[in-house]
């Protein structure tokens, strides 16, 4: 079976100190892959290079077997990859509904109203305040908004960068539950970057550990979570 998303020997950053140093990843359709590692391991750069915000020096990115390497971010989004960047990317000057509508611009006109209504039904917290500025939302609500907005582009692959950052534990659990549902109900393929390895591995199918731009471990999620040495060296729990 073709991988939904494949990264082959990706290299990024300056040659003297590459941020990504030959990273390869294969993500099967309908699965969650957790990318773990400390600050500076290259996790964010990996997502930025996949989504076109950063340019690779070498290597390939394949979506459903087709190369999308180094295309523009807008083309990659149109091909079916939705990247929710770290620090959330809520457009605070726009209302909640306007934020969602930016995600809908990719869709055919006839589908937009129904998709928006579906989003409000699923996330009442957004529907209730659709006319308010997005700046008025709390951190957890903003995370819901950016994920909902990414889903409105009808992606085949979702890239999530540190969705737990700065959120209270209870909210983190809700966000992770949502990601799990997206896989279970909609068959979405997810690449989940997290510093919080414990919560990421709890919902992931497989995981890999990045260190200084290289993959130092990869296995199914349960195996990684049980590996004492890895936990102590790289994952910190």
């Amino acid at each position: 079976m073709t991988e939904a998303l494949a990264v082959e020997d990706l290299v990024a950053g300056y040659s003297a100190a590459p941020v990504l140093d030959g990273v390869s990843i294969a993500v099967a359709p309908g699965t969650i892959t957790a990318v773990l590692g400390a600050n500076g391991a290259g996790k964010t750069t990996l997502l930025r290079t996949i989504s076109g915000l950063g340019r690779p020096r070498a290597g390939q990115v394949l979506l459903d077997g087709a190369a999308i390497t180094a295309r523009s971010p807008e083309d990659i989004a149109r091909a079916g990859i939705a990247h929710v960047p770290e620090g959330q990317g809520v457009i605070t000057e726009l209302t909640i509904e306007e934020n969602l509508r930016v995600g809908l611009l990719l869709r055919e006109r006839g589908q937009r109203a129904a998709a928006l209504a579906g989003t409000y039904e699923r996330f009442p917290v957004l529907g209730d305040r659709r006319r308010r500025l997005a700046a008025t939302l709390s951190g957890g609500e903003r995370q819901i908004l950016v994920i909902a907005r990414a889903l409105l582009t009808a992606p085949r692959v979702l890239l999530l960068d540190e969705p737990s950052l700065g959120l209270a534990p209870k909210i983190v659990a809700q966000v992770m539950d949502l990601v799990r549902q997206l896989r279970d109900d909609a068959g979405l393929t997810v690449l989940l970057v997290e510093q919080n390895a414990r919560i990421a591995l709890a919902i992931a199918d497989q995981g890999l550990v990045l260190n200084l731009g290289q993959v130092v471990a990869r296995a199914d999620a349960a195996t990684l979570a049980a590996d004492e040495g890895l936990r102590r060296h790289y994952l910190g729990f």
Binding site: P73, H83, V102
Partner: protein, 292 residues
């Protein structure tokens, strides 16, 4: 009291011209973070085009429409050809390129049309209107000027607020990377912004030139005052551009009326310096919170 009314209404109609220039600068600044020093030169050039069409056909309105269309095209063309390559480079590159464009356009106009002052017709009578025996300080043409710029600003507001193209422009202005990640082709958005700015500049040129004559440098002083209006309002606020234009127009009209017309340009520059020193982000800047 009558003088006050006269100066106020006169200030509003010139203020709307500053507002049009300010709006065009804001449109470009929001999209590309480039200050377009060639805006006045572009407006001068499209006004020459209007004059040629008017002289050939005898129709003011045909010249008017052709000039607006030329502004639209010129804006799009310049963004695609010479501005786009500077956007990934240090900001100073874009500054130099737009100043170069200004010099180029003024030189080209001098070569094609010569340097002499030409008169340019107003849309309507420039004789001051009176209410009974009271002079109002504004002419039919002044009313048209204010109405035309207000209509353009209102259309822009509708475009921004209620259309997908406007949503793309706002998303791109506030968060270009987020917009791209959601599939917005920001290159096209930037071209549209420059095209609309070119149109607004052309409108300002058509409206102001009856009072200044047309020559290759005829828009220079108006550009400086339009820029001042944009800075007063905050360079990324369309509402601020209009309010800034009105404030500046009325204030300069009082200066000219009560203190002497020699002082108008000095006062305009003094206002620019004062705003930059006291409140450099302007009165209405939408992104001041973001920079904290």
């Amino acid at each position: 009291m009558q003088e006050f009314l006269e100066f106020t209404l006169g200030g509003i109609s010139t203020g709307m011209i500053y507002a049009a220039i300010a709006l065009s600068l804001v449109l470009i600044w929001r999209g590309t973070r480039v200050l377009n020093y060639a805006q006045g030169g572009m407006a001068m050039f499209t006004t020459y085009i209007a004059l040629i069409v008017i002289n050939r056909t005898g129709s003011y309105w045909l010249g008017f429409v052709v000039a607006l269309a030329a502004g639209l095209l010129l804006g799009a063309l310049l963004e695609r050809s010479v501005v786009r390559p500077t956007l990934r480079r240090p900001p100073l590159n874009a500054v130099i390129v737009t100043i170069g464009l200004l010099i180029f356009l003024e030189g080209l106009a001098g070569i094609i049309y010569g340097g002499q002052y030409r008169s340019f017709p107003p849309a309507y009578s420039i004789t001051g209107l009176k209410a009974g025996s009271v002079a109002l300080g504004i002419s039919r043409d002044g009313l048209f000027t204010a109405g035309a710029v207000l209509a353009a600003a209102a259309l822009l507001a509708v475009l921004f607020r209620y259309t997908p193209a406007g949503l793309r422009m706002r998303a791109t202005a506030f968060s270009p990377d987020v917009a791209r990640l959601l599939g917005v082709r920001i290159g096209r958005v930037l071209t549209l912004g420059w095209a609309l700015a070119g149109l607004l500049g052309a409108l300002a040129g058509l409206l102001v030139t009856p009072t200044t004559f047309l020559y290759p440098n005829s828009m220079d002083a108006i550009f400086v005052l339009g820029f001042t209006a944009a800075v007063i309002g905050g360079l990324d606020s369309p509402v601020g551009a209009v309010v800034g234009g009105l404030l500046l127009g009325v204030a300069l009209s009082y200066v000219g009326g009560y203190l002497g017309s020699d002082l108008v340009e000095v006062a305009g520059l003094a206002a620019l310096v004062a705003v930059l020193m006291l409140r450099p982000s302007g009165l209405f800047s939408a992104t001041s919170a973001r920079r904290v």
